[in-house]
Symmetry: C2
Subunit: 230 residues, 2 copies
């Protein structure tokens, strides 16, 4: 069961480039200026060292000194509590509720209706070697993303950011999914001006740079992906 | 699109008896002594009134006065912040992280590996009218629950409750899933004494009474289900 991996650095994030849950944590870490080494983990290969660190067998896993943290929601809440500046959650229970509701919206509903249907079929099937994309799923994802972009537009008509007038973890959750989809050119940015403006705003933050530098073998980055004037 | 429903009460929880996410919120509300009217919602029938209240189309939905709250994690965090007594989360970021990690463990991993495979196949297929149980799924769920009970035993060997020495939302998440499985006699309580003792402790709380009174049409309650000396 031994591996030839070198000893892990003090602070590291085990991630996969097109994992939206990893991206949400990367954005949160970068916004809070917590430096970590990114270690790409092909988690579906179930490397024994990785499973020992995380019995749930998923990415992201955050190593901070001797502490190993799993689950992107628990990690982001921990980072917000242990490193409160800059704040990525409002102060009121009602404001925080809305952030958490939207994180669940994107990490559960959007993920199952859109991300797995498009990124899952077009990219993960190939990198995991589980066959060709299922065209029914791709069609269903392409239909569902329209509804979700319209829902985002509806929120952004009355708010500067998705959960209110301040940027929050909800924006990072949404941007994490949309940026994975944008890497495979599956987002129609012309559908809504307010959504496009919101994405331009978040994409231009320094915290986003690492995501824009991602490369996935076998899937060349499209030209618009890292362009701030997409 | 009109319905004959009477006006909803000020405080109500739209739920389904064997929904573990509804049960987690019911336990939290009862422990915090917040009274709500329980309204059973056959959410998969997508009643237009219900969808209007909750575009995500799921249970539970909590109505508190004019406020309508969705998503069980966001609801429980809101209740903990807005009604902090009794506390169902520890004070430290590290303690709270462990609670949230375990909530995700049960609501995501346990739910997909066990609850949907057993309660989903044996009960929901029948009540939703989507055919007979898939025996492969049932076998897979029966296998997976053993691993999960052993994982709980491992945690409980060194802690009084699942996430530490105080009862927390993590215990409610776990008990919510296990109580649904216990309703269909799918939990082998003889597998681990510490897990059985933990369940006996949580089952005897006044907050649990409403769950023990649940009846699902077509699925008579087994005798041991509501018995505190099971």
């Amino acid at each position: 069961m031994s591996t030839d991996r070198p000893a892990p650095p003090a602070n590291a994030l085990y991630h996969y480039p097109l994992s939206p849950f990893s991206r949400k944590v990367r954005l949160t870490l970068a916004e809070k200026k917590i430096e970590v080494k990114l270690i790409e983990e092909r988690y579906w290969e179930q490397d024994p060292d990785f499973i020992r660190r995380n019995p749930a067998g998923k990415v992201p896993i955050l190593k901070l000194g001797s502490r190993v943290l799993a689950d992107s929601v628990a990690i982001c809440e921990y980072l917000e509590e242990a490193h409160p500046t800059p704040a990525l959650m409002p102060n009121t229970p009602e404001g925080r509720y809305e952030v958490r509701r939207l994180i669940a919206w994107f990490d559960d509903k959007f993920y199952h209706e859109v991300t797995t249907k498009l990124v899952g079929e077009r990219v993960f099937r190939k990198v995991m070697g589980t066959g060709y994309p299922d065209s029914g799923n791709v069609k269903s994802g392409s239909r569902a993303i329209k509804y979700h972009l319209d829902y985002m537009a509806q929120l952004l008509e009355s708010r500067r950011w998705l959960a209110g007038n301040e940027m929050s973890l909800a924006d990072f959750a949404a941007a994490a999914h949309l940026s994975c989809l944008d890497y495979i050119s599956d987002v129609d940015w012309n559908r809504s001006d307010v959504v496009k403006d919101w994405y331009a705003k978040i994409k231009s933050r320094p915290a986003f740079r690492s995501l824009l530098a991602d490369q996935v073998s076998g899937f060349p980055q499209p030209q618009h992906y890292a362009d701030l004037d997409f």
